[in-house]
Amino acid sequence: MMGRTIFIDPGRCIGCQACVSACRECDSHRGKSMIHLDYPDEGHSVASLPTVCMHCEDPVAPCAEVCPADAILVTADGVVQQADTTRCIGCANCVNACPFGVPKIDLQAKLQMKCNLCYDRTSYGLAPMCATVCPTGALFYGTVDELRAERPGVQVADSFTFGDVVVSTGVAMVVPADKVQWPVPGGLPIVEVNGRAVDQADSDRGGGRRAGGMDGTR
């Protein structure tokens, strides 16, 4: 289990793309950014939402699961690595399998690329570049306790529903306690946060079974 992880707090994101630029500067994909920044309600709001690799845990990362070349390794500490370039055949199965739309294919090189949680930094105790620079703390790296010390009472989710499938992730999402009826990435409603049932009245898209409970012991 990872001691630390990234928490994504869309309520803080200002859409500045410092994370995108920082990701380009990090040594693992020098010159390329592995972050997506989405503008979910453009035209009505300036809201923005960063997506990094969620480092899925259960079921074992869908991208790794479908890779015919066994190129995507998951490390013992839960980091889903970028496809091994000596094995990757550029088939894009991982792109199709990822529920969060994370892996990218470099069409020229016929190679997959994805966020590997700045393994070169995190494995030696530094934070990933994106979470280090994010001016607002929309990307936060640390433990859930460290997050709560800075943001008292904050609620987090690390499980997401896609139809009947529940995916538990290594990266977690901040879900403001009073706004839990809002969907999280995956586009589907949360029905439960930290063991607490969430009013379904606002969400008629259905399908969701549970959302995560991080107890701070990860």
Binding site: A18, Y124, L126, T136
Partner: protein, 766 residues
Amino acid sequence: MSSRPLPLDPSIAPPGTRDFRDAGGIPADRWHADQNGETLVPTHCCFCGVQCGMYLRVDRAGKVFGVEPRNHDINRMRLCPKGINAYQQVNHPDRLTAPLMRRSRDEPFREVSWEEALDFTAAEVRRIQGAHGNDAFGLLGGASLFSEKTYLVGKFARVALKTRHVDYNGRLCMVSAAGANKLAFGIDRAGNPFSDILLTDCLLIAGSNVGECFPVMTQYLWGARDRGATLIVIDPRETAIARTADIHVALKPGTDAAFFNAVLHVVIEENLVDEEFVAAHTTGWDEVRAAVADCTPETAGDICGVPASQVVQVARAFAGAGRAMAWHARGIEHHSQGVENCLTVINLCAATGNLGRPGAGYGTITGQGNGQGGREHGQKSDLLPGGRSISNPEHRRQICEIWGIEETELPPAGTSMMEMVWQMQRHEIRGLIGICNNPFVSLPNYTTVKSGYDALEFHAQFDFFLSETAANAHVVLPVTTWAEDEGVMANAEARVVKHNKAQEPPAGVRTDTWVMCQLAQRLGAGAKFAYQGSRDVFEELRLASAGTVNDYYGITYERLEETGGIAWPCPSTDHPGTPRLFEDGRTAHPDGKIHMQVVEWHPPMDPYDEDHPMSLTTGRTVAHFLSGNQTRRLGALVEQTPRPWVEVHPSHGFRNGDPVRVVTRRGSEVFPALVTAAIRPDTVFIPYHWPVPTAANALTIDALDPRSKIPEYKVCACRIEAAERVDEVPAPPVAPGHVAYPAAQVSRTDPLPPTAPQGRGTAERS
């Protein structure tokens, strides 16, 4: 009052985000900089007034090639996209590396030796001044220069050029706030450090798009919010911070003074005035109280186009909080009533007793890196070093003594930057040297600016890229970037920080200090400009500021390196500096009081009529800096925001990307529409970082605030209409002998299709 503990200690990095330098334990086979023969040079970002700490990564050959976040207590490792990409300009292929010269604007530039360029410049100065008097030659400096250089600009103008006409581009930035602070407090700086924001119970942000202009400051805003502080945002647009504010007042541009007067009216009506504080610490209260008697929420609501109830809400939230703070920026300062807008905010802080305490006070957020320090030491037309007035005989005498000149030799006050352009049009100013500024993009009413510059008989420009303004010059002198010299800047908190030299300048490039000293020598003032470098100039600056309101005497390079920054005034080398003003209850006025000022709202200078019924307002985007001369050449930033757009409300019937013509009394231009409900239906917004034909400043009005002489960038009358196609953005000018930045580097992923809407929608695409 909020009871939660302080969550953010600004001097400690966020968990996990250890400084690269302190991390230790990284084995030799990793990419650790020291292991690869790299060095990390601690310095600060060259851009905005936050002045984030960063390391520049320097390779074995001594060249800057990257950036690492640095745990400086201003930014706690955070950086915005400009800061992250800033290093790319240091060794950019567009850098100018030899002086360029031509005798008339019809000729192409040719590369010449420094000797020839400097001799020609000095000869032109002598020719013009010989024929038309010393004041026929002007000097325009910049607020991105180190304070040492801004000091030198002021001295060079008065001692070497002997002209009264010197000003700087900070005139376009925060001089309104400076003027108001000087009137009310006798001192021109923010009252509190950023860290006080974390302690406040109510934070009012007026006219500042913090998320895009000062992104790293948002961590303080969000930190305050985490503790339960109320966040109030006053802005015609729903900006990223307005989106999450408790109260967002989307008032009509140009109505801020009416709004704040009405807020004060409600504070008085509801007995929320801190009578004890007002009696002990202010003058002018009776006049102000009487003047706002008629400023009811209903009247203000009509003027500002917001519900009257919001006025009441803001008054109760601000005055009812135990500790309240107001921070503002260009949104209320870029007006023909800019000084007065700031004074209404000061009146509110003073009436509610919110000054000089942790979590209670005010601040203006400087736009340019050295917007604060850039005017403190004599670069502004009416100021001498140490913030002394050039019209005060005692101040003149003191400076003449330090400079070793007769008082009769010191010219009187000159005019402001925009007024100098009008003087160029009238041939009163015939020659000009520009240092570190780009008025062709940054001044309002481009047609006027161009005609002023075209009328110059001689124009020289210092720059490290060929800016739109430099492309108009006779002589272009290639100077260093911030990474190739050392010096200090004062950030928005008036904290003086030190920038360090990370690499040697490219061959052929000289420091601005060296160039000014060389010119001074050729103009017969060499003995007064015998500096070896920034350190020499800083030592003189320390002495020249000693005993003034802007006292730097106790600040040394060594102390800055040890402490990470010292806020002035700092009168002695054992003084810790002054992060928070007025803690002893005294302002810098001789009577120690806050001088409250009566303000009467007046409408903006460009009247609305049937042809021009809407407001045009302008501002920044997060990816670009000021005139874009620097950031429009950096691939990632170009890709993030490749071209300007016009933000229009959905009620006008446009779709995203539609070509929209914006027409004002100065001209018209066509931009792609960004349709968004986040703007008032009666207002449009254009970001201002681009040159013609997509220059917001070809449309804005050159009306000035009568006191600060700041242009009214933030409001003018306009109309919008459907157009055929959008105007193309020209590529940045490239000097002869230099290659354009290779297309592959400009855009590291696919460029956007030319018709795509720009702006916040241009996310990273795979």
